[in-house]
């Protein structure tokens, strides 16, 4: 059996890839994809823990995270679309009207 730590390390690596993607990429769609990767890293950790503990509530929670991610994707893509209609751009650098 693969030890729990391996799964958690994988999850941490995927999460870090997601965070880096959000922080470095300039395309809104790519940023959004990176956020989905972060959520899936969380799911992986949940499943791994659930398996290690022999408790299914972690599995059940993963389904809830799926549902939430789908709701967020629906709203998020709609927002990106609304923004694109006004600006004809999905480059994050173009959205800087407001600055302190």
């Amino acid at each position: 059996m693969v030890p729990l730590e391996y799964y958690l390390t994988l999850s941490a690596v995927i999460f870090a890839i997601g965070v880096l993607g959000v922080l470095t990429s300039r395309n809104l769609i790519v940023i959004f994809m990176s956020i989905e990767i972060m959520l899936n890293a969380g799911n992986l950790a949940l499943i791994a823990f659930s398996r290690a503990l022999g408790d299914v509530s972690g599995h059940a929670f993963v389904f809830i995270v799926f549902a939430v991610a789908a709701a967020e994707a629906a709203v998020g893509l709609a927002i990106i679309l609304a923004v694109f209609r006004n600006r004809e751009s999905v480059n994050a650098d173009d959205f800087n009207i407001m600055r302190w």
Partner: protein, 482 residues
């Protein structure tokens, strides 16, 4: 297979609020555009009915849905604060959405859905319920922030709020995963039992999970260093929505922080306290110092809300039940006075929006004494000067912190309050003491906004003068359950 008992009376307020939102969506779909104003009336009426339902459950101390949903005094008080805030926002919006042609009926439905999410967060006795509540609240708010679809500022606000909010969600999911792994349960009530640590590295997982959860919640609370979205989102969102965003979600995040970091991780308070201590100090200074240089009043109020998040974090550095009770009272006062300030802003903003500069208040106090006086009251209350609600809120919070020996933190908070007087009173000076050639243009405020303004003024005074007669200061933090 056994199904958990569901106590439908206990969750009546949530049922009413959720039904209300669905009803409004239904109405909005079938009503012609010139009749959509009806949805606003359904909204405020429904919120009042739900408040009665909360009041009916007053004193109930139970956990339903297999112990995942806690109905207790703590959640009831918070729910009343959310309901009051939303009621005032619905009253404020009446005129605003007509002036700005936002009469899509979903406006109120989204506000009520967001309210539903907050109520779920207040009652969450399980991290899963908290997560679902948080997302219901946030997703509705992302849409509300971008409700002025043709306005690039509103677009940008919505986009930034969504991306950073979803980013925070990622942290929260991983945080919940690690906390679950560490203690083997997602139930907040069962977490403080150290026997639950079953895996080899449980304590390490708990610290990682707790830290990730804190990052996610700090985003929602607008605490340093995760406050960068606040000014942009507040400035770009429709003003009535900004008012809503500045009060409710913050209170909901505080409720969850209290349940998770004071109840569930209560035995680790000595490790957690320094972290909250530094978060609190940094948040206060960031909010107050940057607010000084703001010329746009919405941005100023955004930085002021960051500073207030800093004051609220004092309660978690203290970590006692008394401190949490006083932070709940603080939330009540903050909701009343902050929404009041936004109401005046809404009236002054009028039809030609976009100009929210502080200079647009020039001469307001002379031409419209009531508005000027009300704004002055809200601002001195935000600064924490007696005999207003803001002072009472700070007083109880600082008292609880001093009782636990957090004297340096309280001294820093008082210094910050003094800094904040500068930028709040600058608006008062502009309103009353600057001579202008041109008279301030006439403003109109319809009955609903007027009622809301009077409620906010009375609330600010009454909570400041008689705080203890309206607020129970001995709220247990979690239902003992069955």
């Amino acid at each position: 297979m056994e199904f958990p008992q569901i106590d439908y009376v206990a969750i009546l307020p949530e049922i009413i609020i959720c039904g209300l939102a669905l009803l409004i969506m239904l109405f909005a779909a079938f009503l012609p555009r010139d009749r959509r104003w009806i949805t606003g009336h359904i909204a405020w009426f429904g919120i009042i009915v739900a408040s009665f339902a909360v009041w009916m459950n007053w004193g109930t101390d139970t956990r339903t849905f297999a112990g995942m949903y806690s109905i207790d005094l703590f959640s009831s008080v918070l729910k009343l604060i959310f309901l009051l805030g939303s009621l005032l926002v619905v009253f404020m919006s009446e005129n605003y959405i007509r002036l700005h042609k936002l009469e899509a009926g979903e406006y109120y439905a989204l506000i009520i859905f967001s309210l539903f999410g907050m109520m779920m967060m207040a009652s969450a006795a399980d991290l899963v319920v908290f997560f679902v509540g948080l997302e219901i609240m946030s997703v509705a708010l992302y849409v509300l922030a971008g409700f002025r679809r043709s306005d690039p500022k509103s677009n940008e606000s919505s986009l930034k709020y969504f991306l950073l909010g979803a980013f925070a969600t990622g942290f929260i999911v991983l945080g919940i995963a690690f906390v679950f792994g560490a203690v083997g349960t997602t139930s907040i009530a069962q977490m403080f039992d150290p026997q639950q640590y079953t895996l080899a590295n449980s304590f390490f997982y708990l610290m990682v999970g707790g830290g990730l959860l804190l990052i996610g919640l700090a985003f929602k609370l607008a605490s340093f260093p995760f406050h960068m979205w606040v000014p942009d989102v507040y400035e770009g969102a429709p003003t009535a929505v900004t008012a809503f965003m500045s009060s409710g979600p913050k209170a909901a995040a505080i409720a969850v922080l209290a349940r998770v970091f004071v109840v569930a991780f209560g035995q680790h308070i000595t490790q957690l306290s320094p972290m909250f201590w530094s978060l609190s100090v940094l948040t206060m200074f960031t909010g107050n110092l940057i607010a000084i240089s703001q010329t746009n009043i919405k941005r100023m109020l955004a930085y002021s809300s960051i500073a207030h998040a800093g004051y609220m974090l004092i309660a978690f550095a203290t970590g006692t039940a008394e401190a949490v009770n006083s932070v709940v009272f603080y939330l009540l006062t903050y909701t009343v006075m902050n929404l009041g300030a936004f109401m005046v802003l809404l009236v002054v903003e009028g039809k030609e929006d976009g100009d929210n500069e502080i200079t647009s208040f020039t001469g307001l106090g002379r031409r419209h004494p009531f508005l000027g006086a009300a704004m002055t009251l809200f601002l001195i209350s935000l600064a924490g000067i007696p005999p207003t609600a803001g002072f009472a809120g700070k007083f109880f919070l600082f008292k609880a912190a001093v009782a636990k020996g957090q004297i340096p933190l309280v001294v820093i908070a008082v210094i910050n309050s003094l800094i904040s007087v500068y930028y709040y009173l600058r608006v008062v000076v502009v309103m009353f003491m600057i001579d202008t050639q041109t008279e301030f243009r006439p403003v109109s405020y319809p009955a609903f906004l007027y009622v809301a303004l009077v409620v906010a003024v009375l609330g600010t005074i009454v909570l400041g003068v008689f705080p203890t007669s309206f607020f129970p200061f001995d709220i247990p933090l979690l239902a003992s359950g069955r």
